[in-house]
Amino acid sequence: MNIIGVSAFFHDAACCLLQNGILKYAAEEERFTRRKADASAPIHAMKYCLREAGLSITDIDCLAYYEDPSKKLARQIWSGILGHPGELLGSVSPGHVETQIREVLGYQGQIKYVDHHLSHSASSFYFSGFRESAVFTVDGVGEWATTTYGVGNAKGVKIFEEVDFPDSLGLLYSTITSYLGFGVNDGEYKVMGLAPYGAPGYVKQMRRLVQMEAGGKYKLDMRYFDFLAGICMYSPELAELFGRPPRMEDAEMEQFHMDIAKSLQVVLEEILLEKARYLHDCTGMENLCMAGGVALNCVANGKVLKHGPFKQLFVQPAANDAGGCMGAAAYAYVDLTGESMPVEKMKHVYLGPAYTNNDIKKFLAPTNIIYTDCTGDPDRLCTLTAEKIKEGKVIGWFQGRMEFGPRSLGARSILADPRHPSMRERINAMVKKREGFRPFAPAVIEHRAAEYFDLDHPSPFMLETCQMIADVSLPAITHVDGSARVQTVNPHTNPRFYALLEAFDRITGCPILLNTSFNIKGEPIVCNIEDAMKCFITTDIDCLVIGDFIISREENSLELLQFLLMHERSIYSTLNHNVYTFV
């Protein structure tokens, strides 16, 4: 049975293919269109899935969509869309989703609509490897629900309680993100990274934004929020509450902003922990599955596991809406076949397109680019790369299938020496052009992780933070509070990345690399050979290791190409990240 899963039309459109209950292919549309967080019908991602599987559209048994358009419409009507000027109303057509699926995706077969949070729940439980588990989803908003409590077991996934819009922890987080001058749906991660620099001096005020209620419930004090009107996330009262006007995008980052971030983080952790305890009380289960955008807050996840009642935690690595397509597909599979999903933990996220050495060679052949060919000698490739990293070089690392989900995990990564004192500033300045305060994440050989970090289990998806315990200085990857966001790497799921870590360990005695996503500021992570070349050439990355080939900046003169690509760049546009659009 072939099921296509689709997330689209809000943020992070994506498509996946589930064959007989096995997740075979998945990709976000943004990677192909190069428009960050592209929400449009995932035509490229869907083509990719079908092409790789050798399927025709007539071979698809069902298309599972990650939301119920009718329920979503109900929420939009209630939010006041009918009272808004006509233009907004015109874009809310109840048949919009089906029209897009039929006309744009060209799909004529059976469609199954799976509720947004059921999709999130399924995306976590069915890929957790747990036989039974409590399921906790937290995001901005789907249809009505923003937070749900459920269980997964042999009978499937069920939600037994939910918190409805506009009460939403995701929107609370986004509102503060916006108040701090970062983009909504894009800057939440930065706020989390900012928190360790702050003191929780505004916890009292922060608690006024959200009142805890009985059971799983909580309520936002809407006096401080303006997102219902669709112009700005926060109301003037929020600034009054904190005693400072909102920070403008390029304004200086002050201690106040860090304190706000910290206070938000503390309050979020309190709430999540309290509600997780409630969920545990209701279910009595040992395992917890999480998904939804808020579940990408790895600091909070760590606290929930450490201080909460659950023994084991699985967070869907694509916890954002992109991952909804997987859950919808899995849910539809169980529903249609009456069979259960295979009980197997998701081992990796390498579900996107790969390119062969032949593809790369063919790409390079008509160019002037000089490269080192390590075809057939992966040891040499890894040793040469490790040496370059040791020399302080910054590497663009393009290997195998692209990651699904928001994190680069060693397939499309920028790598560097974590021991280097100035490496954080260097990469921030030359590639990321981002706020210098945030450290990068470490990738570490799995069985060596415990030597360096307070971590007693694998962390393959960079979804939790832990304390650095070794007495070594790794400034580029360690937070001010001594924490790090670790990815553990084993030889089974990413043998080449593992080999590189081993090679680096061999020559330096350090089994850790700095790992960050391979992209230019404001653009999605690179997908194909051309994207990787463009990112390498137009930034100051020292070296591109692509398949079995190594391209060094110092061996090439790339100025002309840089100039030409600069001219080409301006045609791409990005989404408006200032406010959620409730349509």
Binding site: R34, A41, I43, L50, R51, S56, I57, T58, S70, K71, L73, A74, R75, Q76, I77, W78, S79, G80, I81, L82, G83, H84, E87, G90, P94, G95, E103, V104, L105, G106, Q108, P166, M222, R223, D226, L228, A229, I231, C232, Y234, S235, P236, E237, K362, F363, L364, A365, P366, T367, N368, I369, E530, M533, L560, L561, L564, L565, M566, H567, I571
Partner: protein, 701 residues
């Protein structure tokens, strides 16, 4: 305002009920109307954040175009702003504009036609005009033309420039523009609220394409009023004369493409009859049977008066019978009927635009050089063609010289007060180097090919190019090389060579040779024509091209997707649907795909997933390198159908092969398209013939 800043919880079930009713789509449901009334009357939670005023477009302040003001003791100098370097190639290759001297100063504003597109920076309109005037006895060496023309200049951009360039203290301002103003229509259509789009749909249905003329005139052209106002305020009010040059179109040689002249608005039986008439006309023309020719063309026009093809063929008929005025009229009608063509709009100044310009000029006290009228009265047959134009609207050297003689005549009158007959105003002695002309025609060959013009016209420009200078051969070889590569052009060393050597600087700095991401053309017909023309200098050029194609694109055991951009088109004529569809749509009777076979006579296997939304139960036929006998035929349906078939080896050639899918004539149900979207409206003009989800080819193991 609600007490707790949120809509009442009591409304939630009602919202759910309404959403469910709306989703069912029963628009006459009484309960639904009731609920809509409830929610329409419930005010939304009011915004408490004041709306920020939309930021004003970056003030041009001390800029004129790309030039930045630098005051000095002797007056204001202007230098190109390094921060705007990305835009430099759009403007004149002039780094420094000095303060006004004792010379008479003329400003030239306009679009690519005023840039001298494809000759610039070596030769252009400003150079020619300045030379004519300085060679004249009256203004001898006392004129400078400041070139402010910009490629792809918009109405808005032009207005802004008019508002800023007065600081250059002109004695005369010349505006040579109008070709790009139709772009406004496209923007207008896309920005319209749904209700207005629906109105367009009804107008289209009742009055046809001509029915939206009014809309164009009232809507899109109203923006040009702003331009004329600015001109009046900036110059005319200050006694600076303004001369407006109305552009002309390549009437005889620029033809509508296969999307534009596809079965527009006729379908079913009428469509079949139109196709028959088209076949009859082509045959009669070949036989030179004038009577049958006219009869068949008249039948085409009777069946579909809005199709440009009928008018073009009528024009051809009148040319053949030396009826020049009638021919001109027919070609002008054809030109004006093409007002929307998806993403690539070939600029043109149509009849009603010209009327509007003439009217506005007269009203505002501007002088006019009306090129259409002047060409009509001075050309032997009165109809401009390839000798005056490099493409649709860009002038050849001969065209520039002729147009500037007309212009100089007016300038002499305005600046020197003399009225000279045209014969007394010779073209300038400036002639672009043969190498420059060779590159211009090579650029024209590419441009014509990329807009789907005929092989014969592309060949003409190739021959002209090589005829002008053999030095173009190296550039052509590089072009053939990078076009054949799968790698994006911008990375190819052959492209870098062209850029470094500056050989194609005339082609928008060479950058025009590159392409958008994943939209690289394989340019099979163009490369074939170029290689053929090269054979004199390089006898094995065609074999080399074939070898390169085979090594880069040769089909092997892995399936190759023919609906990809590379293999499904040879030009940028495209009917753009927004958002783009997940599948290939054909709005023409036949879809042409290409594949590269490694070996002659090698059989291949194809898979095809296709459907015909408006022609159920009719046959789709597949042709290979031949238009007469199909290699495969199957009945089409409105549901996707997946078929597998083989291409017989005997019909397969080495390297480039052409597979044609011939669609049945559609019978669209017009009401089904009345969904109110712009796409639905446009689909009425350009109906879908067939759709292909996937079409692969591979060798047989």
């Amino acid at each position: 305002m609600q007490q707790d800043f949120r809509p009442s919880a009591a409304l939630k079930p009602l919202a759910s009920e309404l959403a469910a009713l709306m989703s069912k789509g029963d628009i006459n449901n009484e309960r639904m109307k009731e609920l809509i009334a409830v929610f329409s009357e419930t005010p939304p939670v009011p915004a408490r954040t004041p709306l920020k005023p939309a930021s004003e477009p970056a003030a041009t302040g001390n800029h004129i175009g790309i030039w930045q003001e630098k005051p000095a003791a002797d007056g204001i100098h202007y230098y190109r702003d390094i921060a705007l370097q990305v835009d430099w190639s759009q403007w004149a290759y002039v780094h420094h504009i000095k303060p006004k001297s004792e010379k008479r100063r003329i400003l030239l504003l306009g679009e690519s036609v005023a840039r001298g597109y494809l000759y610039d920076p070596y030769y252009n309109v400003a150079i020619e005009l300045e030379a004519i005037l300085n060679e004249s006895a009256e203004l001898h060496n006392n004129v400078e033309v400041i070139d402010l023309a910009r490629i792809s200049q918009t109405l808005g951009g032009l207005t802004a420039l008019v508002n800023s360039c007065g600081k250059l203290e002109p004695d005369l301002v010349i505006i040579f523009a109008g070709n790009n103003w139709m772009q406004q229509l496209q923007e207008l259509l896309l920005s319209m609220p749904l209700a207005s789009r629906t109105e367009i749909l009804h107008t289209l249905k009742s009055k046809g394409l001509g029915g939206i003329r009014e809309l164009v005139e009232n809507g899109s052209l109203s923006k040009s009023d702003k331009l004329f106002e600015s001109i009046r305020e900036s110059f005319i009010a200050h006694q600076v004369p303004v001369l407006l040059i109305v552009p002309e179109f390549n009437l005889q040689d620029w033809r509508s493409n296969d999307i534009e002249n596809s079965l527009a608005q006729v379908s079913g039986e009428a469509g079949i009859a139109w196709l028959k008439a088209r076949g009859d006309a082509a045959q009669a023309r070949t036989r030179q049977d004038h009577e049958a020719w006219l009869a068949a063309v008249s039948e085409m026009l009777r069946l579909d008066p809005l199709n440009a093809l009928g008018h073009e063929w009528l024009g051809d008929y009148y040319v053949a019978t030396s009826n020049w005025n009638a021919a001109r009229e027919a070609f002008e009608t054809a030109r004006d009927l093409v007002i929307y063509r998806g993403s690539n709009f070939t600029p043109r100044c149509n009849g009603f635009m010209r009327e509007k310009m003439l009217y506005a000029a007269a009203k505002n006290g501007m002088q006019v050089v009306d090129l259409p009228a002047l060409f009509k009265s001075t050309l032997t047959a009165g109809i401009p063609n390839r000798s005056l134009f490099l493409d649709y609207c860009h002038l050849s050297v001969e065209g520039i010289k002729t147009a500037m003689r007309f212009t100089a005549q007016k300038v002499l009158s305005l600046l020197a007060g003399v009225n000279k007959p045209l014969e007394a105003i010779p073209a300038s002695a400036v002639t672009p180097a043969s190498q420059v002309q060779a590159i211009a025609h090579f650029g024209a060959a590419i441009h014509n090919a990329h807009f789907g013009q005929s092989k014969e016209l592309v060949q003409y420009h190739c021959k002209k190019s090589i005829g002008h200078s053999g030095s173009v051969v190296e550039v052509i070889k590089n072009f053939i090389d990078f076009s054949a590569r799968e790698t994006a052009t911008i990375f190819c060393s052959a492209f870098e060579d062209v850029i470094v050597e500056g050989g194609m600087r005339q082609y928008e700095g060479g950058l025009k040779l590159a392409h958008e991401r994943q939209r690289k053309l394989l340019d099979i017909p163009l490369a074939g024509i170029l290689a053929t023309e090269l054979t004199a200098a390089q006898p094995n050029a065609l074999e080399q091209l074939a070898d390169l194609w085979v090594s880069e694109h040769g089909v092997g055991a892995a399936p190759v997707e023919l609906t990809s951009f590379t293999y499904s088109t040879n030009n940028y004529n495209e009917f753009t649907m927004s958002p783009r569809r997940n599948y290939y749509q054909s709005r023409t009777l036949a879809s042409t795909f290409h594949f590269i076979a490694k070996n002659e006579h090698e059989p291949h296997r194809c898979t095809l997933t296709f459907r015909t939304p408006h022609a159920c139960g009719r046959e789709v036929e597949i042709y290979l390198n031949d238009d007469t006998t199909p290699v495969y035929a199957t009945v089409a349906n409105s549901a996707w159908k997946h078929v597998v078939f083989n291409l017989p080896g005997n019909a397969v050639g080495r390297a480039a092969n052409v597979i044609k899918v011939r669609w049945p004539v559609p019978f669209p149900e017009l009401d089904a398209a009345a969904a109110g979207s712009l796409e639905a409206a446009l689909s009425l003009i350009y109906p879908v013939f067939g759709e292909v989800f996937s079409f692969t080819v591979q060798t047989i193991q």
